[in-house]
């Protein structure tokens, strides 16, 4: 879900996703390359993201950028809703437990 969310607004490359996730989660989510790439490949196989290789510029090698597809946006919406349901249910149970 988090990877899909990061790709929602603009295309990004692997290391950029890892860095942003680390930064935006205050270093809580330290995604390893070995974890991220398989996720990206699976998302690509499932047609939730698509990729493109950028042109190499000078000494900078070509990069593989990922972007969310329409199916990916739909899937993100569904997962977000599911997540909100789960987290609000968990919150409700926790609050009830605190009141007892």
């Amino acid at each position: 879900m988090l990877v899909l969310k990061l790709l929602e607004k603009e295309e990004k490359y692997g290391y950029q996703i890892i860095s942003e996730l680390k930064e935006k989660s205050n270093q809580r989510f330290l995604l390893k390359e070995g974890t991220l790439y398989p996720i990206l490949y699976r998302l690509e196989d499932d047609k939730y993201v698509e990729s493109r290789w950028s042109e190499a510029e000078g000494k900078r090698v070509a990069r593989k950028y990922y972007v969310l597809t329409a199916e990916g946006k739909q899937a993100l919406k569904e997962i977000q809703n599911l997540w909100q349901d789960i987290s609000s249910s968990v919150a409700m149970i926790m609050e009830e437990a605190d009141h007892e």
């Binding site: 390893k32 390359e33 790439y37 490949y41 196989d45 593989k64």
Partner: protein, 208 residues
């Protein structure tokens, strides 16, 4: 993440060649952004391989198996072709001596008659002079007179020389001239097979 690290991963990926190359390209491009400190904290190649292999789709796994099978089949075919080539190289290939570009048929026939003449006269010293090293060694260590007796006590005088067959034989890259001739003696018939190397030295001598 250096090239060695990447190669260790790529070698063990169970996916198609196309996917493997794409992953290689991607890992190389990511190298640019990773600092030395971050490189120290990277997962081991084995861990990365395990994660990658676990993520490939069924279709990708099928492609990998197909490519692996094709590689094995290709290797077997290559070995078969090599074995066939080797067998072809080992097998003697012959043409009529008249068609040879290396040997002169008349010269070979005359040399074969000379060998017979020396042999009939038990003149092994002269035979050695027109032989190659192997045949010289053979004449030094074998007593052909006693072999003659094994065929017949007394062969008698040479009466006629029958049909003469002459070939150029190529085997293992070497060309030789082979002469087969039937000779009738007073008391026995002998079929000789005599071979010469390119220098017209006696290289083989058989009789039956």
């Amino acid at each position: 993440m250096n090239r060695k690290y990447i190669n260790q991963i790529i070698r063990k990926l169970k996916c198609s060649k196309k996917k493997r190359e794409e992953i290689r390209k991607q890992l190389i491009s990511e190298m640019e952004d990773i600092s030395q400190d971050e490189m120290q904290s990277l997962e081991s190649p084995a861990e990365l391989v395990e994660e990658f292999n676990g993520s490939f789709s069924e279709e990708e796994k099928k492609k990998y198996k197909k490519e692996k099978l094709m590689k094995i089949v290709g290797l077997i075919l290559l070995l078969l072709v090599l074995a066939a080539g080797m067998i072809w190289w080992l097998l003697p290939k012959q043409i009529w001596l008249e068609d040879s570009k290396v040997f002169d048929a008349n010269a070979v026939k005359m040399q074969a008659e000379l060998v017979l003449e020396y042999f009939d006269q038990d003149d092994y010293e002269s035979l050695k002079k027109i032989s190659n090293d192997e045949m010289r060694e053979f004449f030094n260590t074998h007593d052909l007179r006693s072999n003659k007796v094994l065929i017949a006590e007394n062969w008698g005088r040479q009466e006629t020389v029958g049909k003469v067959y002459m070939f150029e034989v190529k085997q293992m890259g070497k060309k030789s001239a082979v002469v087969q001739m039937n000779v009738q003696y007073e008391n026995t018939n002998i079929t000789y097979t005599i071979s010469f190397n390119r220098d017209m030295e006696l290289a083989g001598f058989w009789m039956k």
